[in-house]
Symmetry: C2
DNA sequence: CGTTTGGTTGAAATGTGTCAAACTTTGTGG
DNA sequence: CCACAAAGTTTGACACATTTCAACCAAACG
C-alpha cells in the first residue's frame, strides 16, 4: 500500500528547528478554542518535519496520494486546478497557519495542487500522527473540521465572486479577503501588507486574463483605493474598497464562536 | 441565546413517518463505511422531524442561526448566495442523502441560503442530537467530516468550471456531475434522470445568462449529446458529453475508500 | 381557456480575451 | 557596480464570447 509523497520532487528540503512558541498551528487553534494543557501538549508533541521550499514549487500535485499533510509556517501558497485545455484556476491562497491539503486525511487522492508563491517554510505531519491526535483530542478534531468548513465557505464566496461580479469588484474582493485574513494572523500593519502575488496569479484566481487584471488594478489605483507595487499592498480607503468589492467578512467566520457543547 | 430557525417561515410542514429502511442518510453513510450494529442503531434512533416543503421555498437563509440541520429525503435543492447587486450564484445542487447546511453544526451564522427546486421531503435533526451522535460514534463523525470535504472538492471544481471553461463546456460539466451523483443514489436509469432544474437556475449555477444557457443547451442537443426537455434529461452520448465538459469524476471521491485506521 | 412559467429568437451593446510589443523592475554574474 | 537576463507590468488594437433587451412562443395549470 505504498503511498506517494510527491512533495518537492528533487527540491531542497532543509529540516530546521521551529520555535514552538510561534507555532502557527497552535496559534490558529487557540483563536478558535481555549486549549487545555493536555491539548496544547499533544499539539506541541506532534512530530513535524520542517522544510524550506523555494518559490514557485509544487508542494503536492493533483493525483498524489500523500501520507502526510502540511502546515504553512511562513510564506504564501496557492491551491490550484487545471482544466483539460491547460487553463489554471487558483481556488485558494494559503497563508501562515493554513493547512491547504488537510483534506487528504480523508480523501486519499488529491484533486488539487499546491504551489509556493514565495519561499515557504512548511511543517509536514503524518496522517498517522494527525489521526492519533484527533482520536485523543476530540475537540481538536472538531476544530480541524471547523477549519475545513470555513475553507468551504471561502470557496463558495469565490464562486459568487467569479460567477457574478465583474472584474473590478472581483479584484477588490480578493484584496479585502486577503487583508482580513492576514490581519487575523498578525501580518498587517497600517492597512498594508506583503503580498507576493503577481498579476498573472491574480488573473488565475479571478478567472480573468492578465491584461484585464492589470487594467482593473490601475483603475483601483486611479480611484485612490489601493497602492499595489511589487510585493507591497497598501489599502488607502478601506471603506471604499469594501464597497467596491461587495465585501462582507461574515463568510470568513472569524469571530470567536463557542464550539457547541 | 435564542436561536432562529427560519426554516419554512409560514410554510406547510407535514410531519410524516419515514420508512427507516430507505433512510437516505443511512444509505449514504453505508456507502462510505461499513456501519456496526451499534452505529446503525444510533443513526436510526436519531430524532428526525420530517417535513414536506413545496417547490421554490427557502429552507434556510443566509444570516440564519439554525439550531438544527436537515437531510434531503427526496427532491432537489439548490444552495445559493446573492451579491450586493442582487445577482444570484448557485453554489451547489442538493440531492437525496445530502445535508446542505450541516456546516451550521460548527459555523453558527449561515453564509448561504438553501431553497427547494422541487417539492422536497427533508428531515430536520437538532444539532444537539448530531453532536451526541458524533461523540458516541467517532467513525460517523469522521464520515460527516469526510462528506463536507467532498462538498469542498465540488466547490473547487465549480470554481474551475466557472472561471476557466466556456459556457458550452460548463453546461456539459454540470450535467455530467449531476448524472454521476444521481447514479450514486440510484436515481439514474438508462443514462436518464429527472432533473427539476430550469435554465434560469442553470444560468445561476454557471455564472451565465439565461439566454446564453439556452443557446448552449441547444448546441448540446444539436451535437447529439443530450436530450433535455421539461424535467427529463437523457444523455445520448456519455463519452462525448464527458469530453465536452472536460469531466473527470475523481473530484467527487465516490470510489469506496477505506477510512484510515 | 386565460394565465403563468419556462423556453426560444434576434439585434445591438459590451465586458473581457487575445496578440504582440514595449517598458520597468528585480535579480545576478562578471 | 555595471550589464544583462529574467520576471513582471503596461499599452494598444482587434476579435469575440457573452450580456442585455425585448419580443414571441410553447407547454403546464388551475
Amino acid at each position: 500500500m505504498a503511498n506517494t509523497d510527491a512533495c518537492t520532487t528533487g527540491d531542497v528540503i532543509l529540516p530546521e528547528p521551529f520555535p514552538p512558541d510561534h507555532n502557527p498551528l497552535v496559534r490558529k487553534l487557540e483563536s478558535i478554542l481555549a486549549l487545555t494543557d493536555e491539548e496544547r501538549q499533544a499539539l506541541l508533541a506532534l512530530p513535524m518535519q520542517v522544510a524550506v521550499i523555494r518559490k514557485d514549487q509544487d508542494i503536492v500535485r493533483e493525483g498524489d496520494r500523500p501520507s502526510r499533510s502540511f502546515v504553512i509556517l511562513s510564506g504564501f501558497t496557492c491551491t490550484y486546478k487545471a482544466s483539460g485545455e491547460g487553463r489554471r484556476q487558483i481556488v485558494a491562497f494559503g497563508i501562515p497557519g493554513d493547512m491547504p491539503d488537510i483534506q487528504s486525511l480523508h480523501l486519499k487522492v488529491l484533486d488539487i495542487s499546491v504551489a509556493t508563491l514565495s519561499p515557504c517554510s512548511v511543517g509536514f505531519i503524518t496522517h498517522e500522527a494527525l489521526w492519533d491526535l484527533c482520536m485523543r483530542c476530540p475537540r481538536i478534531a472538531a476544530a480541524f473540521w471547523r477549519e475545513t468548513l470555513v475553507e468551504g465557505a471561502v470557496f463558495r464566496e469565490w464562486l459568487l465572486n467569479v460567477g457574478r461580479r465583474e472584474a473590478y469588484a472581483r479584484m477588490a474582493h480578493v484584496l479585502c479577503e486577503l487583508l482580513v485574513r492576514l490581519r487575523a494572523v498578525g501580518l498587517v500593519e497600517d492597512h498594508a501588507c506583503t503580498l507576493p502575488i503577481t498579476q498573472v496569479e491574480f488573473a488565475d484566481a479571478l478567472g480573468a486574463s492578465t491584461v484585464h487584471v492589470n487594467r482593473v488594478v490601475q483603475e483601483l489605483r486611479a480611484d485612490g483605493l489601493i497602492e499595489l507595487k511589487g510585493e507591497r499592498l497598501s489599502v488607502l480607503d478601506w471603506e471604499k474598497l469594501k464597497q467596491a468589492g461587495d465585501f462582507d467578512p461574515t463568510y470568513l467566520h472569524l469571530v470567536q464562536e463557542r464550539a457547541a457543547a
